[in-house]
């Protein structure tokens, strides 16, 4: 997936999961707390129930490999190295990410 530089905060639709829930991705560099407040405030403003939207922080930005890979991808000559670092980072954190999705799915099942 290619997120352009001028698209921070753009909500990308990724499809539906097995239970029919819509899945979206949102990427913002830094400003984590502000994004949480924006989303929470938006839901309050329009009176949308908290159960309508589950906002999950993947924490991908915390990985050194991913951050280094993203940085390398800025320079054309270092793109191959950047991609290698990103794939290494994803492999390293794959277990954590899959566990995260399992947790989210189980949480959704338990919703009233």
């Amino acid at each position: 997936m290619n997120i352009k530089k001028n698209d921070p905060g753009k909500v990308l639709s990724l499809g539906k999961d097995a239970r029919g829930n819509d899945v979206y991705a949102l990427s913002v560099k830094g400003e984590r707390g502000m994004v949480y407040r924006l989303v929470e405030s938006f839901l309050n403003m329009y009176g949308i129930g908290e159960n309508e939207l589950s906002f999950v922080d993947s924490g991908a930005g915390d990985s050194f490999y991913l951050l280094a890979g993203l940085y390398c991808c800025r320079f054309p000559l270092l793109v191959p190295l950047g991609r290698y670092l990103i794939s290494t980072g994803l492999k390293k954190h794959y277990g954590r990410l899959s566990q995260l999705t399992v947790d989210v799915q189980s949480r959704l099942v338990n919703l009233p």
Partner: protein, 199 residues
């Protein structure tokens, strides 16, 4: 419709724009320092509140006026808002995001930085207030443009406030129907609702 004024810290320019929009500050003259400082939320919001939508009140056309802070990332606010609105089927005609940052001058930036970032309110607030007074009519122009684009304020939003102020019970409505309802169907009996709270 929800009209959302946004700026870097949600403490000065967006607060002033929202106050002008609601008729809390005059459009025909520069307010005094005391009048500006008396506006709720002026020079108040902290960094830990950035991103919250603060409800300022309802204007005479029934539009809800909010303000928020989005630091130096207006595109993040716009993209997230548009994206969430799309997910929940909210029409783009139901909200209007207004970036007030273009009207902020250097004095406001300096005073705001001193007051909000460094916490030197005693020094920063007078400076930012002077800057606000200097940029005041530009903000007024922006608000008038927003009102004319949004509509629902009668023929001329500039003169509407003056027209309404002559009414004994808050607002006159000579353009409305005999039962006291205006063009938007709202009864003009109460002053603008004013509550600043986290929404």
């Amino acid at each position: 419709m929800k009209i959302i004024y946004h700026c870097y810290g949600g403490a000065h320019s967006s607060v002033i724009a929202a106050a002008i929009h609601l008729g809390l500050l005059p459009e025909n003259r520069v307010p005094t320092r005391e009048e500006i400082c008396a506006v709720p939320l002026y020079d108040r919001q902290g960094a830990d509140e950035h991103g919250h939508f603060f409800f300022m009140g309802k204007d005479q056309a029934g539009h809800e006026v909010y303000l928020t802070a989005r630091r130096s990332r207006p595109e993040v606010l716009e993209n997230i808002f548009t994206g969430l609105a799309g997910i929940f089927g909210i029409s783009s005609a139901d909200y209007y995001l207004v970036n007030v940052m273009g009207k902020v001058n250097l004095t406001m930036k300096l005073g705001g930085f001193l007051s909000r970032r460094w916490g030197v309110t005693r020094v920063g607030r007078p400076i930012v207030t002077v800057g606000t007074q200097a940029a005041y009519f530009q903000i007024v122009k922006l608000v008038q443009r927003v009102k004319s684009e949004v509509g629902g304020y009668g023929e001329n939003p500039v003169f509407q406030r003056k027209h309404f102020s002559t009414c004994r019970s808050g607002r006159d409505d000579s353009h409305g129907t005999p039962d006291g309802r205006g063009e938007t169907g709202q009864k003009y009996l109460e002053p603008a609702v004013f509550e600043y709270q986290k929404k």
